[in-house]
Subunit: 423 residues, 2 copies
């Protein structure tokens, strides 16, 4: 078993997979909600029944990973156990129970020319997913694509190749049981990095690519892609504590936004405190007390000796750790300017008791998610009631924020006439 299985020609491989995916996409686009759900439920059954095979495959990946010097954190992301496999199967069943967006009527109209028009939701087509070590993405992403009526081409990380293969086998079992084409969810059978390049250039074969992984993967995808990308580059999230913020609420939200899970993309990375806010010292002290490192501007440094001086780089850094940059700002416009200059368009929040200030912030700040009196850690498809998430889009087009089934659809216009010709 080589780390990099080289196939003769990744371009040909992806072209062939893409053509088969396109054919399968036509079938799954027409499949009923029940059939798609059945495929996922049967895949969950197969996953539970294949626990020992999956653990064996994962053992091979883990051993090779340890030999190749993966860090403890990477090995933890890679590792499967009985609980995690149950979690993956549960997630499949959960996606199977989500409302099916396909076929929904977006709007209808009857212009004076006599046509009856409607816009209906249809699947996007063929979706490429490029991801890193977590093997559960194989099941999650495949399931979300399928439930929205799409075909998926999955390209997982080389370190998880055996685990991904074992999980993918269960998805294929589900597809077969439901009478859907196996090609509806394909796994790229090579860890050759050239296959990623071929996917990114597969215009006409792959309708959209979703990268799921670290910043370097997403940057490579955005740089090389000739197909559209649904990407989340980073979550440089801000919380602005306005003059009229309740001090206790501000502290509770700030601590939750940073410290609940510092490593998620919705974690706050910069706190902006209005110069007119009543209790900045307590706010900073509270964060320091729960173990957060504070990197502040001069005004914040003056509040507490434990504050580290911030450098220019800090205002643009996504730490994903218990580190927070904190700046004092002169009013809401200065706060929104800071967000516009340094934010990543992910999630930004205001804490205030003043509804006028809240609405001004919510309508002006141009991020995918804007919040009032809430923790940025809520930025998540599950918390938003979407039941799943293929990613959080920080782009402006097509879909923004948490993307689930609906974000993987588009629409077509249907025009019905009765021999209607145009004058």
């Amino acid at each position: 078993m080589n780390e990099h299985r080289t196939v003769p020609d990744p371009e040909t491989l992806i072209a062939d997979m893409g053509a088969r995916a396109r054919t399968a996409a036509r079938v799954v686009a027409q499949a009923s909600t029940e059939t798609k759900a059945q495929a996922l439920q049967e895949a969950a059954v197969a996953l539970r029944a294949s626990e020992s095979e999956i653990l064996d495959a994962n053992g091979v990946d883990m051993e090779r990973g340890a030999a190749n010097g993966l860090t403890a954190a990477m090995l933890d992301r890679l590792k499967l156990d009985s609980d995690r496999i149950t979690g993956i199967a549960d997630a499949l069943e959960s996606v199977a129970g989500l409302p099916d967006p396909v076929g929904a009527i977006i709007d209808e109209s009857s212009p004076p020319n006599g046509l009856k028009l409607s816009r209906i939701r249809i699947p996007l087509g063929v979706i490429g997913i490029i991801y890193e070590s977590r093997p559960n993405v194989t099941a999650d992403a495949g399931a979300i694509c399928l439930m929205a009526g799409n075909a998926a081409i999955l390209r997982g990380g080389s370190e998880a190749s055996e685990s991904n293969r074992a999980i993918h086998t269960c998805l294929v079992t589900g597809l077969k049981e439901a009478g859907l084409p196996e090609d509806a969810v394909q796994l790229v059978p090579t860890t050759d990095r050239a296959a990623v390049g071929a996917m990114l250039r597969a215009s006409g074969l792959i309708d959209i690519v979703v990268p799921r992984g670290g910043k370097s993967l997403v940057e490579r995808v955005q740089k090389e892609a000739r197909v559209p990308v649904l990407a989340h580059l980073e979550g440089k999230c801000h919380t602005y504590v306005h003059a009229a913020a309740d001090p206790q609420m501000a502290q509770a939200i700030a601590i939750n936004a940073k410290m609940r899970r510092p490593s998620i993309c919705g974690a706050m990375e910069t706190l902006l405190i209005d110069r007119a806010f009543a209790a900045p010292e307590a706010l900073v002290r509270g964060l320091l007390k729960v173990g957060c490192e504070i990197r502040g501007d001069t005004a914040i440094q003056a509040l507490n000796d434990a504050v580290v001086p911030a450098t220019d780089v800090d205002w643009d850094t996504e730490y994903l750790e218990p580190i927070l940059s904190v700046a004092m700002v002169d009013g809401i416009d200065a706060a929104m300017d800071h967000v516009a200059r340094h934010g990543s368009g992910h999630t930004d929040a205001i804490v205030t008791g003043d509804p006028v200030a809240a609405n001004h912030f919510l309508s002006t700040v141009d991020s995918a998610i804007v919040m009032h009196n809430a923790s940025t850690q809520f930025a998540d498809g599950g918390e938003f009631g979407l039941g799943a998430e293929i990613g959080i889009s920080t782009g402006r087009l097509h879909a923004r924020g948490p993307v689930a089934l609906e974000g993987l659809t588009t629409y077509k216009w249907i025009a019905r006439g009765d021999g209607t010709t145009r004058p």
Copy 2:
């Protein structure tokens, strides 16, 4: 006056225009419907008042165009007269009266975590329009972008540069009168082709590029662009006459779909006749009689001596002339296969009295617009009740079919809490 005005550095020019557009975009995104409408109404007033200046400028373009050997058709597209200027002003007023999509609530929800969520429509941001000879696009495209709350960077064809400049001056007058920033609608002040390249690479400055022009322009844009493109490549539109079609209706629709205006993108280019349809001879004869050249497969050739043999190229050709390729097909699945292989995802229609066949076609054919018992010539934003059109998208993402104000918007999520933190 040189045909190609060379500015020192198109990259710097576009970077500067883009930065100013971004600043202006923040202002127009917050502008009220009334303010945006006022800007367009005042621009219409200025256009009417500036008729002689515009005609003078157009005269310079026409003279240079004639000297440069533009064809009569190109000169006609370039030419302005009093009626056409009135038409441009009327169109501005019409866009000013359209419903404003900005701020509309797409949906709302209250997940169990206590947040109140809503998705609201917001402008896309900065839109680049790259177009060819018709000077009315300067006003039309600028108006549609502005009314949807966006800033626009317009890059017209060199042959219309003086006319575009004169029309753009009127738009700027309208912006000033309404108290909106002049930078909200900018015209690239050079005909250097490198400026187009700079626009296509302006990621982060320009949010989307809309090419309006011939196939070679759109192909260049799609090939070079690093920013998203809202493009219409071609309209290879099909009409399928099903076995259960009413012969008279089929003939009326086919003649209208091809011959009403053969040069528009919604014109039918291929007619598919079911082998079980009752009156293929009359259908072909009717088209020949109104002056349509028919290029048919062998079955169609057998119907009438005037039919020219079709070659493989015909099934993929957008003629935009009174020429039609016609094939005999064995049933609806063969017809849909033909459309899938040769269509461009623009507009495809079925003529049938059988509602089951109609629904099968409408749900299966994967084009931006699918029609039943209607002429493909209806593929138009105005006919679809959108009141305007920036183009017809044949892509799959973001917006499909006729794109007007709503297609130039996106959304953001608003989450309201009351000190809500994530457990």
